[in-house]
Amino acid sequence: MVEVDKQALLQFLLRMGDNTLVLGHRVSEWCGHSPVLEEDIALANTALDLIGQTQLWLGYAAEVQGEGKTADDLAFLRDAWDFRNLLLVELPNGDFGRTLMRQFLFDAWHAIILGRLMKSSDTTVAEIAEKASKEVAYHLERSADTVVGLGDGTQESHDRMQAALDYLWPYVGEMFDSDEADEQMVAAGISVNPATLREEYGALVGRVLSEATLTIPESRFAHKGGRTGYMHTEHLGHLLCTMQWLPRAYPGCQW
């Protein structure tokens, strides 16, 4: 096995864990406010799965980092520039349509990459991916069904879903971006080159969105800066203010 660069592995794990942490947080904001009871249950369930996956990814990240920190330290005590999630997942919920469209666009990518990671040369990564992929298969089934139902529903629901897709689409391209850390992950057989997922993603998303009678925007322009941490949106700071307030205001407590 190729010697793995610890910093590159840490980057990769933070990218996985920060995606699930930030999206899990966003989804949990819906609690008690969904359009229908079954959706309240499904959203809470999705958020719960994502937070559970976060514990695994960030737990392993903390171990690799080797500074005696915990998953909680990484979640609650890093500032925005240290977060490595895609910009897509930190965007505000908007209406229910935008929340479900964001979920679908993420789930499709998430399901595909987890499928690849199950064959990772790193057994911990493979184990986390195997557990998570079962949950994510259900997330994808549900978000795809809802996107189809609302896209191919009333004129209003169609228009709202199209608006959500138009708004979110420029944040999709970042999923397939790569840098030196990715190259090292590929070389070590831990992960895959994100660019290689694009074709499968395009086919899956294209099929669902066409069934939903929605039109994918032509522009391939992609906002970037989340997975490198170079430039997050303004929204992430506010999310962290809420999420991190308690452990930061009362440091060193056991909760």
């Binding site: 009871l37 719960l48 191919d152 629901s157 709202r160 060193g252 909760w255």
Partner: protein, 330 residues
């Protein structure tokens, strides 16, 4: 129990002689602990009272998500966040079982939701109080779910089959909620001075509202007597409140917190703790809509319902289109 002041329909308990033949056969089944099922004959007043009671309980589960949801985004660890999400998800699930049980009595979920939103139906007074610090989340699990369990455990034996079966499922999950709540507040009580202060503050604020959950004394109420004869109410409010106080006081002492009521004292003669009765003027004010959070809670639910109308309509329309396409393909 999340149903308080459920008005029992009818004029009180009838003697066997006053009953019609159908009513006698019905009461006889109840007396022999045979469950009443949706297709069985039942008095209109029994049906109406159950709809009120189950509806109020279901609404409480739904509105009850809000005070806890208030802290989901601020939970201090990933584990606490996961536990709270799981709990709130359970509560929405309880709402679902209960709405289904109410549907078997001939009222749709949409109908009773509208009744909640326009004020014809109530939810438990407790959810009109705010959750102000993290220890409130522990206190809600410990005290509020604890008080709910007191009433729900006997209701597993209630006479209406679907309600009884819903209660059996709910009780299993509620005991987990209570344990996690106690565990959360114990961490606070054993923590730093600031954490202990949060725990004490939560206990002080939520103690009397928790006692109010059982409703005012009903020992002389004719309505309660009818509900008890129908076995849709098993114990009096005072019996359950006393049981709750007796169970909770030693837990407060174990936590090392100060008692929230100077009137709490062991009464050797009664074999129970004495305690100060809650302020029933405050209770009736909350019931009338003047609690600290009534307006916000209801407007949150109303906004969720109104803002979600396009989603419900969109999904219904899609189901119709799909059915029509399948029909055309046949």
């Amino acid at each position: 129990m999340y149903a308080q002041l459920v008005k029992t329909a009818g004029t009180g308990v009838k003697s066997k002689e006053e009953m019609t033949e159908e009513e006698r056969a019905f009461q006889d089944k109840i007396d022999r602990d045979i469950k009443i099922e949706p297709r069985d004959w039942m008095p209109d007043d029994y049906r109406a009272t159950l709809i009120r009671q189950i509806g109020q309980h279901a609404h409480s589960e739904i509105v009850g998500q809000l005070p806890e949801g208030n802290w989901i985004t601020r939970a201090p660890t990933l584990e606490r966040k996961a536990i709270l999400l799981a709990k709130v998800q359970d509560e929405a699930g309880h709402g679902l079982y209960l709405y289904c049980a109410a549907e078997t009595l001939g009222v749709s979920r949409d109908e009773i939701t509208e009744m909640l939103l326009d004020g014809r139906m109530k939810y438990s007074s407790i959810f009109n109080y705010p959750t102000l610090n993290w220890a409130d989340i522990g206190a809600v699990g410990w005290l509020v779910d604890g008080a709910a369990i007191m009433n729900q455990v006997p209701l597993q034996r209630t006479s209406y089959g679907p309600y009884s079966r819903a209660m059996i499922r709910i009780c299993k999950e509620e005991s987990f909620h209570q344990r996690q709540g106690y565990d959360a507040i114990r961490k606070m009580a054993e923590g730093t001075p600031e954490q202990k202060k949060m725990a004490q503050d939560a206990l002080n604020r939520l103690w009397f509202p928790s006692l109010m959950m059982f409703g005012p004394s009903d020992k002389d109420s004719v309505h309660s007597a009818q509900s008890m004869a129908w076995k849709i109410k098993i114990n009096t409010n005072d019996e359950l409140r006393q049981k709750f106080v007796d169970q909770t006081v030693p837990q407060i002492e174990f936590l090392g917190l100060d008692l929230p009521d100077p009137g709490i004292k062991w009464n050797e003669e009664r074999g129970h703790y004495d305690y100060t009765d809650p302020d029933w003027t405050e209770f009736f004010n909350v019931i009338k809509g003047n609690g600290p959070c009534n307006v916000d809670r209801l407007s949150d639910r109303k906004n969720a319902w109104d803002d979600g109308a396009w989603v419900r309509e969109g999904l219904m329309e899609h189901a119709r289109k799909k059915a029509a396409r399948e029909h055309a393909a046949e």
